[in-house]
Amino acid sequence: MERSARAFTHNAHKALADDVLQDNLVKLKGNFLVRRERARDSLPEFDVLRDEAKAIKDHTLAHLDLYLEAFEAQVTATGGQVHWARDAAEARAIVLEICRAEGARTVTKGKSMIAEEIALNPYLEAHGIEPVETDLGEYIIQLANEPPSHIIAPAIHKNRQQVAELFADNHAHLDGRLLDDIDDMLADARKVLRERFLKADIGITGANFMVAETGQTIIVTNEGNGDLTQLLPRVHIALASIEKAVPSLEDVTTILRVLARSATGQEMASYTTFSAGGRRDGETDGPEAFHVVIVDNGRSAMLGSEVQDMLRCIRCGCCLNACPVYGKLGGHVYGTTYSGPMGSVLSPSLFGIDEMHHLPNASTLCGRCEDVCPMRIPIPRMLRYWRERETERGLAPSTARWGLNLWSAFASRPTLYRRLMRIGVGVLGRLGRRHGGFANLPLAGGWTRAREMPAPEGQTFQDRWQRGERP
């Protein structure tokens, strides 16, 4: 996707002024998190499972090379083929090469964040191959020509009316008719997509996991579209980033138990599909060929760094649902594939802090993301880490840097600090005494646009205390 993280502030103002979006976001908040809490409460060992899931991933990341090699060996042994891509360009080229070798014209796609990350769709289109999204949410935003706004619910920012309009404009058989019933819309989308499924030469999916023990890729969906994407066409390409490796099936089951509960509040997602190799002699269905494209694209540099913990992420989206900033703005404002708290750590890690420097700052560090994260990822700590890199590189606005230098010059000299504050607070206290606050303060224009600035009481605590005042 086209990245626009530099325009975060501008994007945010637009999002706040968009009444329809604001309406849609309220619904999101009510939905996922409440269900997640119910699911958590009904599973007493939820927190124990989180610890186990975290430990599994930490162990895997510590030996990632070994597990990836084991995975490759198993895929090969079961008749599949593994391709390694260092970056987005290599990944795209590998996919295109497979498509060309198969003479493919149309590919169906299950939802895949890594495909978004490497901007696969526009690339395929530019090379004469038509990609068709089959996840309903992805399909909707493909029609709207927009990137996803949420990792598990890509079209969460759209309401029913907007979807009906997209269908009316794009489904010829509707002749411009607006469907207003959700079931009718689903049926309509299904009809259109079914034809595409049958036409497709290749199915491309993401992978939630790569199991080293068995060489299987696993996808977790709620619509079954992923199954059809990988089963019907002659060829299945699974795209996965390196951190998706997991040692064994046993490990996967542990992680699956926290994944669905955190994502949608379900005990298990509706479909969990395991793929291993292509169709073997005597088998009657499944793709003839199975390719796994393993993408690095900046992740191996995260290993052993301060942001390694981010690689535990299983893309459940729970931190997005919990984040008050995401909840106010939606995902598009972040201007990159990954939004919300996880994206604000991952995006600078993958695409560089220079371009992404707004994102780690666009958080109140309230800690709710870490609180809900099933993989116990210390997101606030890593947001702060990126803020430090921003400071080091001199990317922070110079007013802020000056302000902090000045502040620390005073705050590290208590006597001077006390004298100075006494004067400042005295003046502000007198000015604000009558009204109790300031409707307008120079230097605090942003604050006072929607809020008053409460006035200080007029004397500092320390002065009063030094003068012997006691309660």
Partner: protein
């Protein structure tokens, strides 16, 4: 750690309490003394959090250094602010890698407590002898709740206040949008979050909102005042200490 019956405590007066709301400092002193503590107020400025959270470790360290010297030799360091308490008990240690300073920082961290949780969890206080006539709703500030595990303690104390009715707001655990420098860097987003918070608070029908952090309180008071809401804003310590005859936060003095 066991509490002596008359612990010698240092009050960490957060910079916002010092500058904006001295009443909170005196209320904290009163609560601590009533609980049987001897209270000192060492020379201090700030915990360093503004710099730390802005990604400026050097300046944060510079400011925190003074603190390490001033706050030795006390049984506890009590903070009437969840976020400064979080800074002292979790983040300070992260600023000093090794050597004497790191030892001191770990020591300060181990002895730091948020005010209400100190009173309840360590001093075993279950009630206060204050009165407050009104319906009160408690806003959980993020650091109190998540960094300092403060949740039931202030509520338990508030419920013991004579005449006070406690009423929960929806989303009481959701951030008010203050976030230190966040409200300066992204004022529009911060204001929008504060507006949501104000809506939730108004829905309760409470006449007073209290919290344990002055940052949140100033943010909340600022938006309520702009809306000309009749809801009063106070630090939880003021209500618990019965020190509510001063104007509420952001309110003018009667002329």
């Amino acid at each position: 750690m066991t509490a002596t019956s008359t612990p010698h405590v240092a009050l960490f007066v957060s910079c916002l309490v010092d500058l904006m709301r001295p009443t909170v400092g005196f209320a904290a002193v009163k609560l601590l003394q009533d609980a049987g503590c001897t209270v000192d107020v060492p020379q201090q400025t700030c915990c360093g959090q503004p710099a730390y959270n802005s990604g400026d470790r050097d300046n944060a360290r510079k400011v925190a250094r003074g603190l390490l010297q001033q706050f030795q030799d006390y049984d506890y360091i009590i903070v009437p602010s969840g976020s400064c308490a979080g800074m002292l008990s979790h983040d300070l240690v992260d600023l000093f890698d090794d050597g004497d300073e790191a030892v001191l920082a770990a020591d300060v961290a181990a002895r730091t407590q948020e005010l209400t949780s100190f009173l309840v969890d360590i001093m075993g206080i279950n009630g206060v002898a204050a009165s407050y006539d009104g319906i009160v709703t408690y806003h959980d500030s993020c650091s109190s709740l998540r960094a300092m595990q403060v949740r039931d303690q202030p509520r338990r104390l508030l419920e013991s206040v004579n005449g006070l009715t406690l009423r929960e707001a929806q989303d009481h655990q959701v951030c008010c949008g203050f976030g230190g420098t966040f409200c300066v860097k992204y004022p529009a987003v911060s204001s929008a979050m504060a507006a949501d918070k104000a809506d939730r608070l108004a829905e309760t029908g409470a006449d007073t909102v209290v919290a344990g952090d002055l940052g949140c309180l100033m943010n909340i008071a600022g938006i309520l005042k702009r809306r000309r809401s009749p809801i009063r804003v106070r630090h939880v310590a003021e209500v618990l200490a019965g020190m509510t005859d001063t104007p509420a936060i952001g309110d003018g003095r009667p002329t």
